[in-house]
C-alpha cells in the first residue's frame, strides 16, 4: 500500500493503551459496566498512535463511514466538541457503537498500525468522545427546512433510530413506531447492562427523539396499523426496521419443559424487565444452580455472563470448537476471565424433566469437525455412540433469531424470503412495494448493531431521494 505517512512522528507504540476494566472477581457479582473507559490521558495517548493516513483504510471498514482520522485528530488536540460533531454527522449512536461494535472486524482490521502491532483502538476513542459529550451536554445539529413529507419508521432499534435521525435532519416529518414500552430495540432488551448501560441507550435515544422525531411506544405495526394503512393515512414512505426478534429453538424432544428459556426470554426478563430485582420488580426469573447455555454467539455470551452474575454455575455448550465461536473475542475473553466453563463439540439430543415438568438433565452427543459448510466454518458431524448425559436445572437456548413474521404476514405484496423470513430488499433497502424500505436484521437476518445502522443510513438516503424526486 502506498500511504504517505507524515514522517516526523516518532516511534509508534505497538501496544494499544489497555482498557481499564472492573476486576473479574468483582464484576461477576454485579451488573455494572465491565469496561470503564479511557480517561483523558489514556485517550490522548491512544489517539497519538494514529498515523493520520492520507488514504485512511479504517474508514473503508466502517459501515456508516465515520471519518475516523479526523475525530482522532480532534482528541489529540483536545477539541472534543468538534470531534464528537464529526462522528455525530455520520453516526447518531456513538456511545453505543463505541461499546458494542465489532471494531476488530471492521475499522480496526484495516488499520495500518495493525500491521506492526495492535491497531488503534478506534472504538474506545469513539466511546471516549461520546461519553465526554454526555458529561458536557449534547449539541443540537442544524436541521434542514421542513419538506412537508411524512415518513413512518417501524422499530426503534439501531436501524430505525439511524434512519429516523438522518431523515429528521433532512427536514422530514418522522414518526417512529415501537412495539415495546421502551425505545432502543435490542440495545434495551437484548444487550445486558454490564456491556451497554441502559442509561447510555436512553441518552442516545433521547438525543434522536429530541431532534424532533415523534416516538409512539407500545405500537406494534402489522397488528395495530398495517403498512398499507400507514401509507393510506398520509405517510409517503415507510422504513421497516423491525429486527430479528423471533427466537429459534432446537427442535429436540423435551424443549417445552420448565426451566428452558429462549435467549430472548431470558434477556428480556433480565434486561428489560429487571428480573434480577424480583420481587421489587414484577417480572420473575427462576434460575437454577447449573445453567447450560446452548450456542456460541454474542447473545450466548450475554446469557452466560448474566447467569453468572445471578449466581449460577454456567456451562456453555457449543457444537463446534473454540476457534469457530462467532462471539467477539473480547467477549469470550471477558467471559472466560469471569469463570465461564465451555463444552465444545457437543449438541443436545433431548431434555428430560422431573415430575413437575422441570428440566433435570439433557442428553447430548459429541461432534467432530468436517469440511467447511456454506458459512465457511467447519461443519459439525455427530460421532456415533458418543451420547452422554449432563445434569442441569436451567437451559438457555441461544442459537439465533429470525425476523418477526407479523409485518410480512400482514402486508400484501411485500416480498419475503420464504425460508429465512427476511424482507427482500435491493442494495438501497427498497422492498417490492413502492415507497416501502427495510433494513437491519429484518432484511439480513440476525447480524450486528452497526450493520443495521449502516442499512438504516442507506435506506434513509434512498427514501430522501425517492420523496424529493416524487412528482
Amino acid at each position: 500500500m502506498a500511504e504517505t505517512k507524515p514522517k516526523p512522528k516518532p516511534k509508534i507504540k505497538k501496544e494499544a493503551v489497555a482498557m481499564p476494566k472492573q476486576k473479574p472477581k468483582e464484576r461477576v457479582k454485579n451488573f455494572n459496566e465491565v469496561a470503564l473507559g479511557y480517561d483523558e490521558v489514556q485517550a490522548i495517548e491512544e489517539a497519538n498512535r494514529c498515523l493520520q493516513c492520507v488514504k485512511p483504510q479504517c474508514v473503508t471498514g466502517c459501515p456508516v463511514e465515520v471519518p475516523i482520522p479526523e475525530f482522532i485528530k480532534c482528541i489529540r488536540e483536545k477539541r472534543y466538541d468538534e470531534g464528537i460533531a464529526i462522528i455525530k454527522a455520520k453516526n447518531a449512536l456513538p456511545a453505543v457503537c463505541g461499546r458494542v461494535c465489532p471494531q476488530e472486524e471492521q475499522c480496526q482490521v484495516t488499520c495500518v498500525v495493525g500491521r506492526i502491532g495492535e491497531p488503534v483502538s478506534i472504538g474506545r476513542l469513539e466511546r471516549y468522545l461520546a461519553d465526554w459529550e454526555r458529561e458536557h451536554g449534547f449539541q443540537k445539529p442544524e436541521k434542514a427546512k421542513p419538506t412537508g413529507k411524512k415518513i413512518a419508521i417501524v422499530g426503534a432499534g439501531p436501524a430505525g433510530l439511524t434512519a429516523a435521525a438522518d431523515l429528521v435532519k433532512l427536514g422530514h416529518e418522522v414518526t417512529l413506531f415501537e412495539a415495546l414500552h421502551l425505545p432502543g430495540g435490542v440495545l434495551i432488551y437484548g444487550i445486558p447492562e454490564f456491556r451497554l448501560p441502559k442509561a447510555i441507550v436512553r441518552n442516545e435515544v433521547n438525543y434522536i427523539v429530541n431532534l424532533g422525531v415523534d416516538l409512539r411506544l407500545g405500537n406494534q405495526v402489522g397488528r395495530i396499523h398495517t403498512i398499507p394503512e400507514l401509507m393510506k393515512s398520509g405517510y409517503e414512505a415507510v422504513f421497516i426496521g423491525s429486527g430479528a426478534g423471533l427466537p429459534m429453538f432446537l427442535g429436540v424432544p423435551g424443549e417445552n419443559l420448565g426451566g428452558i428459556y429462549s435467549a430472548n426470554e431470558f434477556l428480556i426478563r433480565v434486561n428489560l424487565m429487571k428480573a434480577y430485582n424480583f420481587p421489587d420488580y414484577d417480572t420473575p426469573l427462576r434460575l437454577g444452580k447449573h445453567v447450560v447455555v446452548i450456542g456460541g454467539g454474542n447473545v450466548a455470551m450475554d446469557c452466560a455472563r448474566s447467569s453468572m452474575r445471578l449466581g449460577a454455575e454456567v456451562c456453555l455448550l457449543y457444537r463446534r470448537s473454540r476457534e469457530e465461536l462467532p462471539a467477539r473475542h473480547e467477549e469470550i475473553e471477558n467471559a472466560e476471565e469471569e469463570g465461564l466453563v465451555c463444552k465444545f463439540l457437543a449438541a443436545p439430543l433431548r431434555f428430560n424433566g422431573d415430575e413437575k415438568g422441570w428440566v433435570k438433565s439433557m442428553e447430548c452427543r459429541a461432534m467432530e469437525l468436517g469440511p467447511p459448510d456454506a458459512s465457511g466454518r467447519r461443519r459439525p458431524i455427530p460421532i456415533k455412540g458418543s451420547e452422554f448425559t449432563m445434569e442441569t436445572d436451567t437451559v438457555i437456548i441461544a442459537i439465533g433469531q429470525t425476523p418477526n413474521p407479523i409485518i410480512q404476514r400482514t402486508t400484501e405484496g411485500l416480498e419475503a424470503n420464504p425460508k429465512r423470513g427476511t424482507i427482500i430488499v435491493d442494495e438501497n433497502g427498497k422492498t417490492s412495494l413502492d415507497g416501502v424500505y427495510a433494513g437491519g436484521d429484518v432484511a439480513t437476518g440476525a447480524a450486528t448493531v452497526i450493520s443495521a445502522m449502516g442499512m438504516g443510513k442507506k435506506a434513509a438516503k434512498a427514501i430522501h431521494e425517492y420523496l424529493m424526486n416524487k412528482k
Binding site: 430472548n264 428480556i268 420473575p284
Partner: protein, 235 residues
Amino acid sequence: MTICDYDANKGTVSFAFHEVGKTTKGLGCLNVGDTLMNVTGPLGNPSEVKKFGKVLCVGGSIMIAPALLQLKAMKEAGNHVTAVLGCRSKDCIFMEQEAKALSDKLYVASDDGSIGYKGLDFLKDLLTTEKFDHCVVLGPVVMMREVCEITKPYGIPTIVTVTPIMVDGMGMCGVCRVTVGGEMKFGCIDGPEFDGHQLDFEELVQRQRLMLPEERLSSMLWEMHGGCNCGRNKA
C-alpha cells in the same frame, strides 16, 4: 388479556378479569380516570368469523365475557348460535341476560350443579340430538380440554383460545410456545386461537404453572404492603 368488548366511536375497549395475583388485584384497585403506564394491542390473529351454519359457543368462568363478543360476531355473520355458559357455582355466573339476548339458545352449567346442568356431560346428549358445524370455546384450560374431548367424536371443528404465559406478547420471548399437531407454535403470533383437537393441553397446563411460586410470592408481598391501600382487600 382478551378483549371482551369495544366501542370504536368512543375509542374504548373492555376487559374482564379475575383478581388472582398482584397485577389483577392492582388493576381492580384503579378508579375512573386512573392511567396505566402502557397498554398495547390488539395483538394476535383476529378470530375467524364467517357463516358456518350452526355454531356452538362455549364460555367458561371469566372468559364468558370475551366469548360473548365472539357469540355476537358469529350471530352477526348469520350463524345459528347456541351458547353455553360454564362456571364453578351460581355465584360466579355473569352476563347471563346478555348471552340470552344474543344467542338462539342458551345453556348454563356449573361444576357443583348449583345453577343449570352439573358439569358438561349434558353436551354429549346435546350433540347426539343436534348437529353443529363449528364450535368455539373460551375458558379455563381444563374446561376447553373437556369440551374438545366431547366434540371430537362428532367431528365438530373446535377452536380454543389460549392464554399461555407471555413476556412481550409480540413474538419475541417464546414463553407462550404450545404444541399443536406435534408442531411448536407461539400463542402470541400464531394464536391465540388453535384447533382444540390438535392442541397438547397437558403441556399447556404444565407451562401455565411454571411461575406459580413467584406469582404467589408477589401477590403475598403486595397484600403485606397494604395492597391498594383502599382497605377493600381487608374485608
